[in-house]
């Protein structure tokens, strides 16, 4: 059972998927020779050739648009968008074509395309490298949206995403790329947790904290800190944003009576708001406090030297936990 950084786990997952299915292609900027700016595709062009690992012209509309065409011919393209803020040239293809062709064709057209997008902040970078645009994609019917928080999930979820007959937007938490974790590579796709299930990653009785991607580790850190004060947080790793596994969260909230949702994206119009609404609808009589959200502000992502203030940290999570308990 190898101990892999999250980036290497995705690499291993891509390799396994490519070995299993010759129709799997990788497309993106600098992904071949260089192996991607985060080295997620390192070595794959060398081993699978330039016809399967394509260094593309610098055009995201081109990447996604041609991936759609390739998918129509039976390929399973996995597109790398170099950074979150660079996906927008492709937005038209994603929203009007990729997401809607199945419905437009009454299910006759299948688009098994995966878009890999590094997201989230905390790496001290310049503009457009640290944003969390997942809500924009979750709002589009026809797309599935997932994000792994650990190496094991990264390894398996990328393979599940590739196997999915629907287009999947696969958000990779940038600042966790180097976090190591055990990966059980001997299991099969059928054995591991389904792609669209959330997971309780820490048990606790007082407050449920739901997080995904980069904020899962943060929620666990907050849980450690809270435990020192005798507060037990239950941490749910959502793993999937569209569809949202509301059931797993609801089950937890029925026990704790309290929910705090943590993400880096702005809370305004965000995934936390969606979850809050659905939990309120389902668990109104179990709730002891309003569902609280901790996230980014309704602002352009700020310069790196203030990002720690923009991003939710342990303190802001605990502050929300306190407010939830005080309600």
């Amino acid at each position: 059972m190898p101990n892999l950084p999250l980036a290497k786990a995705i690499n291993a997952g891509l390799r396994t998927a490519m070995e299993r299915d010759p129709k799997v292609l990788l497309m993106g900027e600098d992904i071949g020779r260089l192996g991607g700016v985060f080295r997620v595709t390192e070595g794959l062009q060398k081993d699978f050739g330039e016809a399967r690992v394509l260094d593309t012209p610098l055009a995201e509309a081109g990447i996604v648009g041609t991936a759609i065409g390739l998918a129509l011919r039976g390929y399973r393209p996995v597109c790398e968008i170099q950074f979150n803020g660079f996906v927008y040239p492709a937005f038209n293809q994603i929203v009007t074509q990729l997401a809607k062709l199945r419905a437009r064709s009454q299910g006759r057209l299948e688009l098994p395309v995966v878009l890999r997008i590094p997201f989230g902040g905390g790496i001290g970078s310049v503009e457009h490298h640290s944003e969390s645009p997942e809500a924009l994609f979750a709002h589009v019917s026809g797309l599935r949206v997932v994000t792994p928080a650990t190496s094991a999930d990264a390894y398996w979820m990328i393979q599940q995403a590739i196997a999915s007959p629907d287009p999947v937007v696969f958000f990779e938490p940038e600042r966790r790329y180097w976090d190591k974790g055990q990966v059980e590579t001997d299991a099969t796709l059928a054995d591991v947790a389904p792609l669209h299930r959330a997971r309780v990653v820490r048990r606790g009785e007082h407050v449920t904290v739901a997080a995904y991607g980069p904020t899962v580790r943060l929620a666990l850190e907050a849980a450690e800190a809270a435990a020192e004060d005798g507060t037990q947080l239950e941490v749910v790793d959502l793993r999937t944003i569209s569809p949202l596994d509301v059931g797993t969260v609801a089950e937890s909230v029925r026990r704790t009576g309290r929910l705090v949702v943590v993400h880096e994206a702005p809370t305004f119009g965000g995934v936390g708001g969606e979850l809050a609404a659905r939990i309120t609808e389902r668990c109104f009589y179990s709730l002891e406090a309003p569902v609280l959200r901790v996230g980014g502000f309704h602002l352009p992502y700020p310069a790196a030297r203030v990002e720690e203030h923009y991003l939710p940290g342990v303190d802001r999570v605990l502050d929300a936990v306190d407010r939830s308990l005080a309600a």
Binding site: G32, L34, P57, L58, P89, V126, L299, A304, V306, D319
Partner: protein, 384 residues
């Protein structure tokens, strides 16, 4: 192809520093103007050297270098008049220099204290655009505005205005780059699209982007394309001047491909040894834009010791200004990020600002006090 000179490239100075004639392009410069260009080249290279060092010392998070591209940037930048507008990428430090921007303003971006430390209105230098090619349609739109203001073709050199939009070879692949050329052509906009073909887009050679020389891409939409030696400051000045003059006089857009080389890494995060050979870099080193210009000035007897000593001292002073200044760049106040998202108050933003201010203040009131992020402690200390 890397290394060999492409056909039809406008050159006024050979790599050996020999002045050659071109049938269509020429510049006649006074000695002071020539020395001024040399000063620009030397100083912008010094900015680059210093910024790289500051990045290594941890004072900057990142740096996107201009080494090797000084002539393309200074030549085109010095062709601009005060009333012109420039729309840069993230690498146009030499153009920013020509627009009178203190390089510290650029360092703010790479230190992470702001997204841009100059006044784009005062300097007529748009903020750096990191999304490749995204600055070009705005540049064309700005030129359409110039046109509608009647600031084209009046014959008044203080009034006639042009716009220049920069991009890299890789960025030519973006759909928006093609749209910008197309719009410029259709509206006969007073704009120059200036492409620095530095042969690489991170790890991708220009052959990944195009199967024809880049300057020929403009022909298809009716914009004349000119290929210029990007390591020849005189040729870059001459070609850009002609293109800007054409734009200002109402003649319409021009696409310029400046054929140059990125001598350094894409940014300090990049390792070019993974994708290109040292031999290729050596070929280009022999065409260094500053060496060639210096040889020319020497052969003309224009570089005396007084000048070079004074320039060295000035470069040293500039370096010191950057070293000292970067450490003194004010850290952005946490609440300042709320200031400029909107011109007029936005209810949710204001609410978030107030909540965050109260949250920050709650730490000041706590027994331990201080910045919450400096200590691992939880908020428990203040609330329970």
């Amino acid at each position: 192809m890397p290394g060999g000179d492409p056909e039809g490239m406008v050159q006024l100075l050979t790599p050996a520093g020999e002045r050659v004639e071109h049938p269509d392009y020429d510049v006649a410069l006074e000695p002071e103007e020539l020395l001024g260009l040399y000063r620009d080249l030397v100083l912008v290279r010094r900015v680059d050297t210093e910024a790289n060092a500051l990045q290594r010392q941890g004072e900057l998070g990142l740096w996107a270098g201009l080494l090797g591209q000084e002539a393309a940037q200074v030549g085109s930048g010095r062709a601009l008049r005060p009333q012109d507008h420039a729309f840069p990428t993230y690498r146009e430090h030499g153009v920013a220099w020509c627009r009178g921007v203190d390089p510290l303003g650029i360092l703010e971006i790479f230190r992470g204290t702001s997204h841009g430390g100059w006044d784009p209105v005062a300097h007529r230098l748009h903020p750096y655009t990191l999304v490749i090619a995204a600055q070009l349609l705005p540049a064309v739109g700005c030129a359409m505005g110039v046109q509608r203001d009647g600031a084209v073709g009046t014959g008044d050199p203080g009034r006639d205005t042009a716009v220049i939009g920069y991009l890299g070879d890789g960025a030519t692949s973006q759909g928006e780059a093609s749209e910008a050329l197309q719009w410029a052509a259709v509206f006969n906009a007073p704009v120059v699209i200036f492409c620095q073909n530095n042969q690489w887009a991170i790890s991708e050679p220009v052959s990944v982007q195009a199967r024809v020389p880049l300057h020929r891409r403009a022909d298809g939409v009716g914009v004349p394309g000119v290929l210029v030696d990007g390591n020849d400051v005189l040729a870059c000045l001459a070609v850009t001047r002609a293109a800007l003059d054409r734009a200002r006089s109402g003649g319409g857009p021009t696409f310029v491909e400046a054929y140059t080389y990125r001598m350094g890494a894409h940014t300090t995060s990049d390792d070019p040894t993974r994708y290109r050979s040292a031999a290729e870099v050596d070929v280009w080193r022999a065409k260094d834009p500053i060496d060639r210009f210096r040889r020319y000035l020497e052969s003309e007897g224009l570089l005396d010791e007084d000048f070079t000593t004074a320039l060295e001292a000035e470069a040293e002073q500039l370096a010191e200004h950057l070293r000292a200044g970067v450490r003194e760049l004010p850290e952005p106040a946490p609440l300042a990020m709320f200031d400029h998202a909107y011109a007029e108050p936005h209810e949710q933003v204001e609410e978030e600002r107030e909540e965050f201010a109260a949250y920050l203040a709650s730490f000041d009131a706590a027994p331990s006090g201080g910045d919450p992020h400096q200590q691992p402690a939880t908020v428990a200390g203040r609330t329970r």
